[in-house]
Symmetry: C2
Subunit: 346 residues, 2 copies
DNA sequence: GATATCTTTGATACCGGTAACAACATCTTA
DNA sequence: TAAGATGTTGTTACCGGTATCAAAGATATC
């Protein structure tokens, strides 16, 4: 724990305690506790007396104390690779909506795509006694997995369908999504399908997408050409670069599947800048149905991924486990469907 | 016979306690506590004995207990109007970076632009005994303000420079930003400057932007025409609509300042669809320097706001107050600068 | 060498709640 | 009407740590 100012004892202003409420209402603290947490176990008269005492004093329960005493917390930890990536915000929103409604609180941190950092965060969350964990990455250190197992805290993994899940999984399959879109492009008649993706170091999603792409090529009877595969960073400029590189090294390329963040937009802009018809000269497909893609001209063919649903389902399953002890969810895998959105660019 | 761990009630699996570590190391719990939190107060030998016992047992401190006992927590509460709005993610990132580095945790929730919901969240955070609060809205219920005051928790307001700050403020001025951009457009020679903004109900940022716009018009000697002011919702489609409406009702309009989320992009697309030259027929200016604006054609003139810095500075000030008792920061207001980014669209 | 000071460790009493059980009143049911 | 069931409230012992102060040894000062 970080050092803090030692102005007197602790940092908080003195706040009313449950015993103050009890005294004011002329009852025991247990009655106050019951009136607040299990109102049905208390007579109407007591309930009113307690509640008015609470109001008069301006009492705020101390969650730290109640969690410690009851050995039950109402916080859930979420670790995303990157907080400022709009990809995750829909999922976070889905989680947040459900979690808040249940009176839980969300602790959020970002791992920066680093499993060691993730492990540290998991540890930190466990010391805070979160009652559940949501992890977006499917790549973890063995120590992290061990700590989670030892803690017994239920976990949902979110970003991919891992081979060896820790516990529960709610996701779409990156392999499947990339496979499906590549097949789609193949069926549309494209023969030289380039593939751009985010760096796959510490990014299992990225790796699975590449595998899906290759599996589809094989299925389509197309040769795999390494020059058609490019890994890059996020961003519009990266998308532009990809176009330049791939067209330069393989002029006969006729389609570009951008399986990563806004790469497709950057690629499309670059094509327009060069005066290339899309999809006439080169078709473009993207990986995530951000609003922008629909409004561009040409509108961009893409995959609609169940981002919000993933968050929502994750939260529901986690809360079932936590609140109702729904053990049948343990280890269950929910493979949510995606959808090819056919538009003008391919 | 001492109570067995496995019989303890609640949801958590058995976890080692400090007394288990103490027993193993043959010391008192206080020595363990010191070895972990104030290593300098313990002899080298003890420190080693304790640390190895910690490792052997796989002990994880219980933050709930230590916070309760020391009356000091390491969580900070953040309330944003909307979690899935990319506008805030940079600020959240700035906060997160600093906060994590100091060993604190971030609790995040969204108010949905609703002060009552915000109050509930503030209450919830206070029951969790957060040691600091970051609020993005500058509009609060009186009860919320009272609760915060009573709790004594330091607060930073982030989204705007409010007239009556609760405590600390780190922000740019929405009034000033809108004023500056409007003046900029005026100096460029535009005479009929339309203004599109997000709904101002429960959105003080939006209201202040409008005021800044009007103040600039006055300064420029231009008449205020209500038909040139449009409030709308977020989104590309809204931006498109704005163009349609404003041009229809005031054909002589020659500039459109979109002081809201991606409205400018939608507006630009709509102009292109209609074959209108930008800025020839109508100039367009935006409010936030999202990456996209630079890559569009024409590139879009906009304001660069110190989103990340706001988060970073907020966190630093908050942590100073919490850890070092930096009372001189109480009530201080940091007005961070913004910048007009002149591009092709205006 | 004796006292004062510092360092290191431990015993104890909490922090603010809740679980478990006890005590008592009231209500059922045979 | 007695015995058990049910409902309501209180008592006590914790949850897992830390603040506080006391105690004992080590070092310093005169």
């Amino acid at each position: 724990m970080p050092k803090q100012s030692s102005t007197r004892k602790g940092q908080f202003a003195t706040s009313a305690r449950m015993r103050d409420v009890a005294k004011r209402a002329g009852v025991s603290t247990m009655t106050v506790s019951r009136a607040l947490n299990e109102p049905s176990k208390v007579s109407e008269e007591m309930r009113e007396r307690v509640l008015s005492a609470v109001k008069e004093i301006g009492y705020l329960p101390n969650h730290l104390a109640s969690s410690l005493s009851s050995n039950r917390s109402t916080t859930i930890g979420l670790i995303v690779p990157s907080i400022d990536n709009s990809i995750y915000t829909q999922t976070v929103k889905g989680l947040s909506d459900v979690i808040r409604q249940s009176g839980f609180q969300l602790m959020i941190a970002e791992s920066g795509y680093d499993p060691n950092e993730e492990e540290e965060l998991i540890t930190a969350f466990l010391t805070h006694r979160v009652s559940g964990l949501v992890l977006h990455s499917a790549e973890h250190t063995p120590q992290a997995v061990a700590k989670i197992a030892k803690s017994g805290v239920p976990v949902v993994e979110n970003g991919n369908i891992p081979e060896k899940p820790i516990d529960m999984v709610v996701s779409y399959s990156n392999w499947d999504a990339a496979y499906t879109m590549t097949m789609h492009l193949g069926r549309l008649g494209y023969k030289h399908i380039a593939f751009a993706s985010l760096y796959s170091v510490h990014n299992d999603r990225s790796r699975d997408r590449l595998k899906g792409y290759r599996a589809a090529l094989e299925q389509l009877g197309l040769d795999y050409d390494p020059r058609l595969v490019i890994e890059t960073s996020r961003g519009l400029s990266s998308g532009a670069e990809v176009v330049a590189r791939v067209v330069h090294s393989v002029p006969e390329v006729d389609a570009l599947f951008c399986a990563g963040d806004v790469l497709a937009v950057g690629a499309l802009f670059e094509c327009q800048k060069r005066g290339w018809a899309v999809p006439g000269r080169i078709a473009i497909a993207s990986f995530d149905d951000v609003e922008l893609l629909r409004h561009l001209s040409p509108s961009v063919t893409t995959l609609r991924l169940p981002r919000y649903d993933i968050g929502e389902r994750s939260a529901r399953m986690l809360l079932s486990r936590i609140m109702d002890g729904a053990e049948h969810f343990r280890g269950s895998i929910v493979d949510l469907k995606f959808e090819v959105i056919q538009r003008e660019s391919a």
